[in-house]
């Protein structure tokens, strides 16, 4: 039974990249500045924060008003991350879809950026989902129980019915988060197609 008060806002989605050791983050700085010049998203893009000097940090962050985009290396797992900051209307499912769509769109754009020489690519199988609000979604069993039906419904759609495994982070101090592994490799466009179908 879903807790009717469990409102999932500030959904973050991170798409893990293949061969992270080969990815150079430096070209991301001019790439993100170019995205601001072109205001390539419907969201308002503001600035670039470069944290490459920090170990296992946020990497290079494109700061926006409604959301941040980054190529983030937290926990030594490099991935394209979408961090939704502004609250959204709709259902929890809508919000998971929106964040995932945005992460996928950013990843797709990065995959085609010449400056990255094709080295930044989604690994096709792994993604992480976070709720960046400890009060709305504390990292506890109750949250897991409450969110799981909606999360599974969302993943069913995302992976087009193919199998996946799901693991929650158990440290109560960390954000509520789930790591998801698809059993078969899917491209960014496959996943986008599944979400829009």
């Amino acid at each position: 039974m879903v807790d009717p008060l469990m409102e999932l806002q500030h959904v973050n989605v991170k798409l893990l990249v293949q061969r992270p050791e080969e990815v150079d983050l430096e070209p991301l700085v001019p790439i993100f500045h170019r995205w601001i010049q072109g205001q390539v998203s419907e969201e308002l893009l503001l600035d670039v924060a470069d944290y490459r000097h920090v170990a296992e940090g946020p990497g290079v962050v494109l700061i926006g008003h409604q959301a941040n985009y980054s190529v983030d290396n937290a926990d030594n797992r490099l991935g394209v991350r979408y961090n939704r900051k502004a609250a959204l209307e709709g259902s929890n499912l809508d919000r998971m879809k929106q964040a995932t769509r945005s992460a996928l769109a950013a990843c797709q754009r990065l995959e085609s950026e010449p400056g990255l020489k094709g080295k930044l690519r989604f690994n096709g199988q792994e993604l992480e989902l976070f709720i960046n609000d400890r009060l709305l979604a504390p990292n506890a069993d109750a949250t897991r129980e409450s969110i799981e039906p909606e999360l599974r419904a969302f993943l069913q759609k995302l992976f087009g019915g193919s199998e996946y495994s799901l693991r929650y982070n158990s440290d109560p101090r960390r954000l509520f988060s789930a790591s998801i592994w698809a059993s078969q490799t899917l491209s960014v466009s496959d996943l986008l197609k599944n979400l829009t179908s």
């Binding site: 500045h33 308002l44 944290y51 296992e56 900051k85």
Partner: protein, 751 residues
Amino acid sequence: MKASNSRWKEHLAAKMPESLAREVDIFETELELRKQGKLDERLFAETRLRKGIYGQRYDNGQRHDGQKVQKLTYPSRDLTKGPNTLWDAPGMQRIKIPGGGLNAEQLETMADLAEEYSDGIAHVTTRQDFQLHYVHIDDTPSLMRRLAAAKITTREACGNSVRNVTACPFAGVCRDEAFDVTPYSRALSKFLLGHPDCQNFGRKFKPAFSGCSQHACALTSMHDLGFIAAERRENGKTERGFQMYVGGGLGTVPYQAKLFDPFVPPQEILPLTQAIARVFTKLGEKKNRNRARIKFLVNDLGVEKFKELVLEERAKLPPDPRWKEYVEEARHFREEPLRPPGQLPSSTSEAFRRWLKSNTRPQRQEGYVVATVALPLGDITANQLRALADIARRFTRETVRTTVEQNFVIRWVSQSDLPELYNALAAVGLGEPGAGTILDITACPGTDTCKLGISSSRGLAAELRKRLAEKSFQLDEAVQNLHIKISGCFNSCGQHHVADLGFYGVSRKMAGYVVPHFQLVLGGEWTHNAGSYGLPVMAIPSKNIPEVVTRLTGWYVKARKNGEAFQEFIKRIGKTELKSKLEDLTRLPAEQTDRSYFSDWGDPREYSLGDLGIGECAGEVVSSVEFDLATAEREVFEAQVAFDNGETARAAELAHQSMVHAARGLVKIEFSDVPDDAERIVQEFRARFYDTQKFFDPFAGGKFAQYFFAAHEKTQTPRTPESVRYLIEEAQLFIEASHSCYNRMAAPANA
């Protein structure tokens, strides 16, 4: 912004101390009133500043994207949180940490806030505070409530108030201190927070405590109020007290603090500070914020007269039990270790040995050490903060402090635990060696996030750090111990005046472009609590600064005599020779094919647009202006050389002359036949550039022009060496401002 904002108040009601909870409630109401237009934007700006909420770059709703100025259209449109500061624009939250002391729960809170309200990074400042960037103002009441639940307040973290009371992070464990200053700094911090006598200053007021006079850990000489622990024998007993200093400060022109009293007993430090606050409130400048720091008041009155006024005020103060009630307890204050003392186990790990050498320091308590966690550019991730909290619990009784070098220290580590501690730190990327060495570069936020930034201090720091780290183990020991400090502008937040190699951001127009530069500042002293200040030598394009560091450090290693310190080496060589060694680096590559010079470190946007569209006639005037500015630069340099040679009168004359020439250059833009007469130039400059505000800097206003006018008025007044030193600094700043004014006038409107 956060969907949970309305729920934290109730959620944390039982955890927040009542006084802190009430403060946040009041602020939330003020925030709401401002949103409804019922609170004036200026008043709200000062209100939020006093809660540590600063503006950030581009918060006027405009950003130059490298090609054009973009208007940033936010959902709240024209709603403002201060003059020319849009509501929705991200801001910075400063969080006061008295003496830099934090427990594990507080570290965890900081981690959560960095993750949920900022960009995942907490930044340690040069005054032991934390800063979170890109914070939305709507989130600040929740953020403050969560801090309050961890017994932290942001009250008076900014604004015209008593800022964080800093203290030596080694207090209580240092082998060279007179005694532990921790309880005294805490008592002063608590006493001054929200004190009615500290609410009406013209500017901020920064106190600091040090346990000794020889080290740099607290930098008391550059503070508004500095306390250095001292002991004396009286009637066969050892008494505690403090050397009390007043009127120091960096800022645009740095002032050394003056000795107010060589020995103030502990029961007098609170009332004397209160009396100083009252004198500062009564006599400190209020209208002209450029002369409103207490250093100007002390300098204008002279320290003896200032002291006389303070003692008069002290005599009138109604007694307050808080002045004395902590004193007895303070005598017995002592932190305790978690683990028994031990011996360092033998280790074969080279990485551990390197870290051990640079990042640990024996405590005066046998068997214990202080371990420094070196943070690159003062940045730490949320996950690292949580790991640090775990480490603090595992090895100590949560005795962690931030430092003025933007690091953490973990105190009371048993020597036998050091390998395990190192492994725990290294596992989360916090085991980097090089604390306190040339790798440990201090930088203010600069153009990354600061509204006043001119050049990219963090970008340069990251680049220097990367290059130096690659060869750090081959660097000569003498070079390893040097300090590099970088500010994005003349305001000294990166403490460039007290570094061996200091830099501050300026700009120059070259080849039709505005090119980011840094002024090289040499001769500063980090030790002895920031014992002396360096002076600017020359402006160099940002992209050539790494080569400046390579040349100067290489030269030092080759040419130093008998182990002389870097400061002595610079003095012996002299600025003329030094300048000739670096002169070629002031120029752009001849072909100008390397366009990287026109953008700054870590920021690929073009610093300025190419063609300035200057016509032939204007072109002649431009050449003439540049000529005058170059003359002014040469003269101010000669003033420094004269000053270094002890020719103070000549130095003063040259400094004044340099200002006159810079002003003449500007006047020529409008009046090409201006006579070469100082009086007339001042008159014309005042009428054409000051009264019209054309010279005014967007943030500093007419401050630098006032330096010029004051210098001109005092040409016949005898000057002390100290005042000549200030004059040279002021001349340099006036010339910089003249360059900026010229750049503004010559540039197209959107550049």
